[in-house]
């Protein structure tokens, strides 16, 4: 099941959703059509914003690092941050702010602990993989972490991982990725709530 399908299953019908780092808005568009949500995207890339608007997706031009606080007291049902948290200046703060603006949040992140990454680092190179496709000098990723790191952060801060899925490089759950996620999952998908 691709990531969007997992997210779609976790988002309640007719809920109010904010997608932080929404890209071209495809996910919100899909959620609007299939789940009847009221959705807003936050995006900084002008080209992506244009695509959002063309596709009828509501979008706010805003840096997520600074912007989440604008939505304080908005009480969204779900806040989504797909493959963006590792790009933020303060991922831990962003996570707790997300939980201030919505009841639950969905986070997806590339697992730096995946064996391919470990192998690359072992041979002295920064990994370039399917979920980490850019070279070190091009990537926006500044806070890469492993699945173990992320889950430790959540438990330290008291965030509850209500649901989690570990996906392999084909974005599918496999027995290997579920057995030893920190080694075999290339992507973690989480539904997180406060306490």
């Amino acid at each position: 099941m691709p990531i969007t399908e997992i997210i779609k299953n976790w988002v309640p019908n007719k809920s109010r959703v904010i997608d932080l780092g929404c890209g071209d808005g495809a996910l919100l568009c899909d959620l609007k059509n299939t789940k009847n949500i009221i959705g807003y995207g936050v995006e900084i890339d002008p080209d992506q914003i244009e695509v959002c608007i063309e596709n009828g997706v509501s979008v706010i031009e805003q840096d997520i690092d600074q912007g989440i606080n604008d939505f304080k007291s908005f009480n969204f049902d779900v806040a989504i941050m797909a493959s963006s948290i590792q790009c933020l200046k303060k991922p831990d703060k962003a996570l707790s702010r997300m939980l201030n603006i919505s009841d639950q949040c969905i986070v997806t992140l590339p697992n730096f602990g995946h064996w391919r990454c470990r192998l690359d680092v072992f041979f002295g190179r920064m990994p370039v993989t399917q979920s980490l496709p850019m070279s070190w000098y091009e990537t926006d990723n500044s806070h890469l972490c492993t699945i173990k790191d992320f889950e430790t952060l959540c438990s330290d801060r008291g965030f509850v991982l209500k649901k989690k899925k570990y996906l392999n490089k084909n974005y599918k759950e496999s027995w290997l990725s579920s057995l030893k996620p920190n080694l075999f999952a290339s992507e973690g998908v989480y539904l997180i709530a406060k306490d």
């Binding site: 109010r16 009221i38 807003y40 002008p46 914003i49 244009e50 695509v51 959002c52 608007i53 063309e54 596709n55 009828g56 509501s58 979008v59 706010i60 031009e61 805003q62 604008d70 939505f71 908005f74």
Partner: protein
């Protein structure tokens, strides 16, 4: 592009927000392109403070280019091959619509300062009658910058079923204290002109040109950005041969003198006061317990809110306030910040991103 200019008379009484009414009124209207048979391709363009109905069309010998000619026209962002664009001069204006320079039918004399105080909401109300005149049920888009953006917002509030999309550019849902302060200095300079005669200058066969000129010079400073002024004029000196006044040293002085002078020939001082008052007084939140989101509750239109990062008159933050209120109401709305280099006036000029944005919004 098919351009039609006409003066349309509305015979019924128009009750205004201030409690007064107009026995009837006239609107000077310009339209571009053609209305389709189903009447579903109509766009209303609302002008800013000193604008008028002449929004599009290239410059000719006796006529300047329309104020939004970079945006409206064949194959432009608002494509007149596809849309029927309606632009009117607001009541209270001085370009042909009923205003302080018109004759008051009850006294037979020029209104002058007796022209009632009109508001953004009144303009929208008069534009609704214009919409009915054209037998249009729903605007595909109502759009404007600055004071025009306020009208676009008010359209979405006043007539939620008659606007599919609203474009609110370089605007605010409420003028800031600083905006009001600047406007008051401008109005004061007009009032203190010895030819103002409490607004009844036309009766006295004169015009408060000096005061109006100073007001416009101040206004111009607020429309440009510091950076743009630096780039365009810097500290460059004006050639002695081309300077408009003897005590002009710098190019910026010459520019303001020239612009102010030209404006004071063409514009009406009472209209200046009336338009700035309408801008200062606009505040949809005021009648909704101070909260904009209360005022927006009935809005059904999709909103596109655009701010320009060099605009210090209505900075992007003002647009964002509208966006946040719209989001609290679950309104489909987007907020974008563009890199216009012309300060507040940036909304007037073409850029690739602005073009694409308006196009995408229209076609979404």
């Amino acid at each position: 592009m098919k351009i039609a200019t006409q003066k349309i008379e509305f015979k019924n009484r128009l009750d205004l927000e201030c409690g007064q009414s107009l026995p009837g009124f006239e609107l000077m209207v310009e339209t571009y392109g053609e209305l389709n048979e189903a009447k579903t391709n109509a766009i209303l363009v609302c002008h800013a403070f000193s604008g008028n109905h002449h929004a599009a069309g290239e410059a000719t010998e006796d006529k300047a280019a329309g104020w939004w000619d970079q945006i409206i026209g064949p194959d432009k962002a608002i494509d007149t091959n596809k849309y029927f664009v309606v632009s009117s001069n607001n009541i209270g204006g001085c370009s042909g619509s009923s205003g302080p320079t018109s004759v008051n039918p009850s006294s037979g004399e020029i209104y002058g300062a007796d022209f009632p105080v009109v508001s953004v909401t009144d303009w929208v109300k008069s534009q609704k009658l214009l919409m009915e005149y054209f037998e249009i049920d729903c605007w595909e888009l109502v759009v404007g910058g600055s004071l025009g953006g306020m009208q676009a917002l008010q359209w979405a509030i006043s007539y939620p079923d008659n606007v599919r999309k609203a474009g609110i550019f370089a605007a605010a849902a409420q003028a800031s204290t600083q905006n009001i302060a600047m406007n008051e200095v401008a109005r004061e300079s007009i009032r203190k002109d010895e030819n103002f005669h409490d607004g009844f200058y036309l009766k006295n066969g004169t015009k408060p040109k000096k005061g109006l000129k100073t007001a416009r010079m101040l206004g111009h400073i607020t429309y440009l950005s510091e950076e743009h002024m630096d780039l365009r004029f810097g500290r460059k000196f004006q050639d002695i041969d081309t300077r408009v006044a003897n005590d002009v040293d710098f190019q910026i002085e010459n520019y303001l003198q020239y612009k102010g002078e030209k404006f004071s020939d063409a514009f009406d001082a009472n209209t200046y006061i009336l338009m700035t008052k309408a801008m200062d007084n606009y505040d949809p939140a005021h009648i909704a317990e101070g909260k904009l989101e209360n005022a927006l509750k009935r809005v059904k239109s999709k909103l596109l809110i655009v701010g320009f990062n060099t605009d210090w008159l209505f900075p992007p933050k003002k647009g964002k306030d509208i966006q946040l209120a719209a989001m609290r109401c679950g309104i489909e709305s987007s907020f974008v910040v563009l890199d216009g280099e012309n300060g507040h006036d940036s909304f007037l000029f073409f850029t690739d991103r602005y073009f694409n944005l308006i196009r995408s919004f229209l076609e979404s």
